[in-house]
């Protein structure tokens, strides 16, 4: 499934805030079409790294390439080729479903005909056609998150970054959400995801574990479990982070 063609390359990534080192010499590659899990304790440096990869923050040093573009000089191109969603910010609460789609389609410079076709397909898939004129604020969290993800990949980006997309979501919706992720992967989209649910770490092709600004482990869930002699990823994480 994975052809090891890198879509993200990170070499010696360092990010300092004053004397505080948030990212301490990170090195990794993310391959095209994989689900790459990025886990770690609060404050380990995950969000800082994601912000850099999305072109929202400049690293202190290092070489990084995202979707074929350089992180220092081509951030606008990067932004056009990625999608992003997080638990905290996803969609505009005061706009309807249809208005949000129009807004994000516009931001990503989609053609109207393309946007309309993709919108139709997406609302059909989510069973939300009847609700397209509802305000986002009136929707249950689970719907919002599924919708936010679908909108994040509406413009068919090369990579989608998901920052704790399933926090607080009920167990059924959480699994439906992961089905959407698998469908996106089958369309060739690469998924970069952070989570605190260790069962979700098992759904990733490879998982990197961060601690105090460094990547302390990076492998498939299966190999990590073998290496740390653990029955599941929860145990792997506890052994590494404690």
């Amino acid at each position: 499934m994975i052809n090891k063609e890198p879509v993200i390359t990170v070499k010696n990534m360092v990010k300092k805030f004053g004397t505080f080192v948030a990212n301490d010499n990170l090195n990794f590659e993310v391959y095209k079409g994989e689900i790459f899990g990025f886990i770690g304790a609060n404050g380990a440096g995950k969000t800082t790294a994601i912000r850099i990869l999305c072109g929202l923050s400049t690293p202190t040093s290092g070489e990084m390439n995202v979707a074929g573009y350089d992180i220092y000089h081509q951030t606008e191109k990067i932004k056009k080729n990625i999608g992003y969603m997080s638990q905290k910010f996803s969609l505009y609460e005061d706009l309807t479903i249809a208005e949000n789609i129009r807004f994000f389609g516009g931001v990503y410079g989609m053609k109207i005909t393309e946007r309309k076709a993709r919108t139709e397909e997406m609302l059909e898939r989510l069973d939300l056609m009847a609700f397209k004129n509802r305000k986002i604020g009136d929707l249950p969290l689970g719907w919002k998150q599924k919708l936010a993800f679908s909108i994040a990949i509406l413009h068919n980006p090369k990579i989608v970054f998901l920052d704790e997309p399933t926090g607080g979501v009920d167990p059924i919706t959480r699994r439906q959400f992961w089905n959407l992720i698998y469908e996106a992967v089958q369309k060739g989209i690469t998924v970069f995801v952070t989570t605190h649910y260790m069962d979700e770490a098992e759904y990733c092709d490879r998982v990197s574990i961060m601690s105090e600004g460094q990547i302390v482990a990076l492998d498939t869930p299966e190999n990590l479990k073998k290496q740390y002699n653990a029955i599941n990823m929860d145990e792997v994480f506890l052994k590494i982070a404690r």
Binding site: G40, A44, G142, V169, R242
Partner: protein
């Protein structure tokens, strides 16, 4: 002791709580388990006298949360879901502030918070707004405890907190329970349910079930099977059409298949999968987790709506 009787809360047309009744014993560690929007925060805010119920009554150690609200506040400690300390005050100033408001001092009740506060004491001159997530959480708990409450109400204290810090936090709660404090805690993490004495599963404003975690797992009314294969996504698609299916869900690297009681054996499931082209599979009969129970109750609830 917390007594909740037929509590109802409506915001306009939206029913946040529908006739909720609960009885929590003195010294119990009681968990309210449910996703965002289930009504957990509304119930907690009503118990803390911060919100008036639309109907029903509730009492905390026999004090009515509406009539005796001032007394209720003296005997309860509350940690809201959102960080609500003063970001511009230092760690120590925040703690001192809460102690003073309740007419006590840090010294007087230091023994209660010692284990927790010691971990953040090296940073006591740092502003609270500048603390990391884990440290904020420890400070908030210290502030909720400094007046020696009889009842502690914690609204999703571990949401967004990493797995290691979550384990540490639950160890702290165990110690507080052991010194006799009644604790009501909410969480969206199903795996934390097993750490409570008793739990209530809540969804869309209704309590679906109340029991000890063990009772709840044992009372699972259907058959549950753990299925593993090379490609579980494909396997789960095939299992969606197995006769007597109730649900099939991924749990980490395996699938949990739920079928109607007595309709299948490991052999019949394996046969079904082989017939549909799946090889290299293992099927084992298994016990339900709290998450399985929650999923089943949610499914039944959705079917009746």
């Amino acid at each position: 002791m917390i007594e909740v009787q037929n509590i109802r809360k409506q915001y306009g047309d939206v029913v946040a709580l529908e006739n909720v009744s609960l009885s929590i014993q003195r010294g119990e560690l009681f968990g309210l388990i449910g996703p965002d929007g289930a009504g957990k925060t509304s119930l907690m805010r009503i118990l803390m006298s911060l919100l008036l119920p639309t109907g029903g009554t509730a009492a905390m150690n026999n004090l009515d949360v509406v009539k005796d609200y001032k007394k209720v506040r003296l005997i309860t400690g509350y940690m809201p879901g959102r960080f609500s300390l003063y970001p511009d005050l230092t760690v120590e100033e925040n703690l001192k502030f809460f102690a003073t408001v309740f007419g006590t001092t840090i010294e007087e009740n230091y023994h209660l918070i010692k284990d927790i506060y010691q971990q953040i004491e090296p940073f006591k001159t740092r502003r609270a707004g500048q603390l990391s997530g884990g440290m904020k959480q420890k400070l908030a708990l210290s502030c909720a405890l400094i007046h020696k409450p009889e009842i502690l109400i914690l609204d999703e204290p571990t949401t967004g907190v990493d797995a290691v810090s979550r384990k540490e936090f639950w160890e702290m709660l165990k110690r507080l329970k052991n010194i006799g404090i009644t604790i009501l805690v909410s969480t969206p993490y199903m795996d934390e349910a097993t750490l409570c004495d008793r739990i209530a599963l809540i969804q869309e404003g209704k309590i679906m079930s109340v029991a000890t975690p063990v009772e709840m797992m044992h009372s699972f009314p259907e058959d549950l099977w753990t299925v593993s294969s090379r490609k579980i996504y494909n396997t789960s698609k095939i299992l969606e059409i197995i006769p007597s299916l109730i649900s099939v869900n991924s749990f980490g690297q395996v699938l949990h298949l739920v079928t109607a009681k007595g309709q299948h054996t490991t052999g019949s499931i394996r046969e079904f999968l082989t017939k549909n082209g799946e090889h290299d599979i293992t099927v084992e009969s298994d016990k339900a987790t709290i998450e399985d129970v929650f999923i089943l109750l949610m499914q039944k609830h959705n079917q009746t709506v």
